[in-house]
C-alpha cells in the first residue's frame, strides 16, 4: 500500500508536471528557426592552427605557473587550506596544471590528483581548523564535480590503454574517498554533515560512472549503511530513505 507521505509526494510530482506544457515563446521559435536555416554551412572538422590561441594555451599556462610560483611564494600556497588568502594561488596553479595537460585523459588524471589534495585539506580542516570546514567541503565538492565532468568527456572517447587506466584510477579513488568521507562524517556535528553527505553522493555517482567501462567491475565501493526494507518488502523509496545509502552514520 502506498504510504501517505508517498502519496503526498506523488501528488506533488503530478502538480509540477503541469509545467511540461511550458513552451518556447513564439518569437524565439520563429527567430531561432530562421537564424538556423540561414546559418553558414557546417564547418569541416576543426583543425587547430599551428600557432593559434589554442596551441599557445599550454605555453601561456606554463608562464602563468612560473610567474605565480616565483612572485607569490609557492610554499605558503601549497600548505594553505580553503578559505586562506594563499589558497587562491594554489588553485590558480592547479588550474594551470589542468590547462597544461595534453588531452582530456591527462586532464582527468590531474583532476583526480587535485581531488585527492582537497580531501586531504578537508581532513586537515576537521582535525585542526574547524573554521575552514565549510570552505574545505565546498572546495572538495567542486573538485569532485570537475572530476565528474571530465570523466563524462573521457568516457565518450574511444578506448585506449591510457584512457582505461585513467578511468580505473578515478574509480579506485572514488571508492577510497567514499570510505574516507564516511569516516569523517562520524566525527562531525549534524549541521556539518550535509556537505559530506553530498560529497559522498557525488563520489558514488563518479564511481558508478567509471564502472560503466565495458569489461570491468571497478574497484569495490566502500560498504554503506544497509537500506531498510519497507513494509511491502520492496526497497523503500521514501525521500531520505530511498536511493543509494549516503553512508553517513545515522543518515539514510
Amino acid at each position: 500500500m502506498t504510504e501517505p507521505r508517498d502519496r503526498d509526494l506523488e501528488d506533488f510530482a503530478r502538480d509540477i508536471a503541469r509545467h511540461r506544457r511550458l513552451s518556447a515563446p513564439p518569437a524565439l521559435r520563429q527567430g531561432l528557426r530562421a537564424s538556423l536555416l540561414a546559418a553558414p554551412g557546417q564547418p569541416a572538422p576543426v583543425r587547430r592552427p599551428l600557432f593559434g590561441v589554442a596551441a599557445l594555451r599550454p605555453v601561456l599556462a606554463a608562464v602563468i605557473v612560473l610567474a605565480l610560483l616565483v612572485a607569490a611564494g609557492g610554499s605558503a600556497a601549497a600548505s594553505s587550506l580553503p578559505g586562506d588568502p594563499a589558497f587562491g594561488l594554489k588553485r590558480a596553479v592547479e588550474e594551470a596544471q589542468v590547462a597544461l595537460a595534453t588531452d582530456d585523459v591527462a586532464r582527468l588524471d590531474t583532476l583526480v590528483t587535485q581531488s585527492d589534495r582537497r580531501i586531504a585539506d578537508l581532513e586537515t580542516a576537521i582535525a585542526r581548523r574547524p573554521a575552514a570546514l565549510n570552505p574545505a567541503t565546498d572546495e572538495y565538492l567542486a573538485a569532485v564535480e570537475r572530476v565528474d565532468a571530465m570523466l563524462a568527456r573521457v568516457l565518450q572517447e574511444p578506448t585506449t590503454p591510457a584512457r582505461d587506466a585513467a578511468i580505473a584510477r578515478a574509480a579506485a579513488k572514488s571508492a577510497e574517498h567514499v570510505a574516507r568521507l564516511q569516516a569523517l562524517a562520524g566525527r562531525l556535528p549534524d549541521a556539518a554533515q550535509q556537505g559530506i553527505e553530498r560529497a559522498i553522493e557525488v563520489q558514488q555517482a563518479v564511481h558508478g560512472k567509471s564502472n560503466e567501462l565495458p569489461g570491468r567491475g571497478g574497484a569495490p565501493i566502500a560498504p554503506t549503511t544497509p537500506t531498510t526494507p519497507s513494509a511491502t518488502g520492496r526497497p523503500s523509496t521514501t525521500p531520505g530513505r530511498g536511493g543509494p545509502p549516503s553512508g553517513v552514520p545515522g543518515r539514510p
Binding site: 509526494l9 519497507s230 523509496t237
Partner: protein, 202 residues
C-alpha cells in the same frame, strides 16, 4: 512507491507520441542533418525546441537567459552535427550540449547567485502581454528549483518537468540509475519543502 512515480506515465506518454517521433524516423532525420540537410535539422529543431527551452528555463535565472541558452544549444548542435553519433537519441545529444552550456553559465554567475535568487529578476516580472498565471507559477517553481543543489536541479527538471525516464537521465548525465532514483526523490522532497516554506504548496 516513489521510485515508480512517473515511470508508468512515461510509458503512456511514449505511446501517445505521434508516429513521426519513432526512434528510427528520428535517426533518419539526424543522419540527414549530420550530412548537411538543413531541412532535416529544422525538423529536429521543431520537435525538440520546447524540451530544450524548458530545460534551460528551469535551470537558469531568467527567461532571457533561457532563450539565449536555447539558441546557443541549437547553433552548437548545428555545428557539431557531423560528429553526432546516430545511435544516440537526438534529444540526449541536445541535453548534453544544454547541460554543458548551463553548467558554464552557472559557474560564471556563482558568486552572485544567492543574492540574485533572493529577489525576482526584473525580467521575471510579468509584462503586460504576459500575465498568465501559469508563467508566474513556472517562474516561482524555477526560483525554488534553483535552491536545490545542481545535481538535484538537473535530475528533478529532467525527470518531473521533462518526463525523461530514469534510464534516459542516466544516459544523459552519465550516472547510474540507482543514483538517479535516489537523487530524484530527495530532490523532489526538498523542492516540496522549499515551496511549502514559501506557502506555495501545502
Amino acid at each position: 512507491m516513489h521510485a515508480e512515480i512517473g515511470r508508468d506515465r512515461s510509458a503512456e506518454v511514449n505511446e501517445r507520441r505521434p508516429p513521426s517521433d519513432k526512434p528510427d524516423d528520428e535517426a533518419t532525420l539526424a543522419r540527414h542533418a549530420a550530412a548537411g540537410d538543413r531541412r532535416a535539422f529544422a525538423a529536429l529543431y521543431d520537435r525538440h525546441l520546447d524540451a530544450v527551452y524548458r530545460y534551460a528555463f528551469f535551470r537558469l535565472r531568467t527567461d532571457a537567459e533561457a532563450e539565449d541558452v536555447t539558441s546557443e544549444v541549437f547553433h552548437r548542435a548545428l555545428v557539431t552535427m557531423p560528429r553526432y553519433e546516430p545511435r544516440r537519441p537526438f534529444l540526449a545529444f541536445l541535453y548534453t550540449i544544454a547541460r554543458n552550456i548551463v553548467a558554464d553559465r552557472l559557474r560564471r554567475q556563482r558568486p552572485q547567485a544567492s543574492f540574485e535568487d533572493a529577489f525576482a529578476h526584473p525580467t521575471d516580472a510579468p509584462g503586460p502581454e504576459d500575465t498568465a498565471t501559469a508563467m508566474d507559477d513556472a517562474r516561482r517553481l524555477r526560483r525554488a528549483i534553483r535552491r536545490l543543489n545542481p545535481l538535484q536541479q538537473e535530475i528533478v527538471v529532467l525527470r518531473f518537468l521533462e518526463d525523461r525516464s530514469t534510464k534516459e537521465i542516466a544516459a544523459i548525465t552519465g550516472k547510474n540509475e540507482n543514483t538517479i532514483r535516489g537523487i530524484q526523490m530527495r530532490g523532489l522532497a526538498a523542492l516540496r519543502e522549499i515551496l511549502r516554506g514559501e506557502g506555495i504548496v501545502r
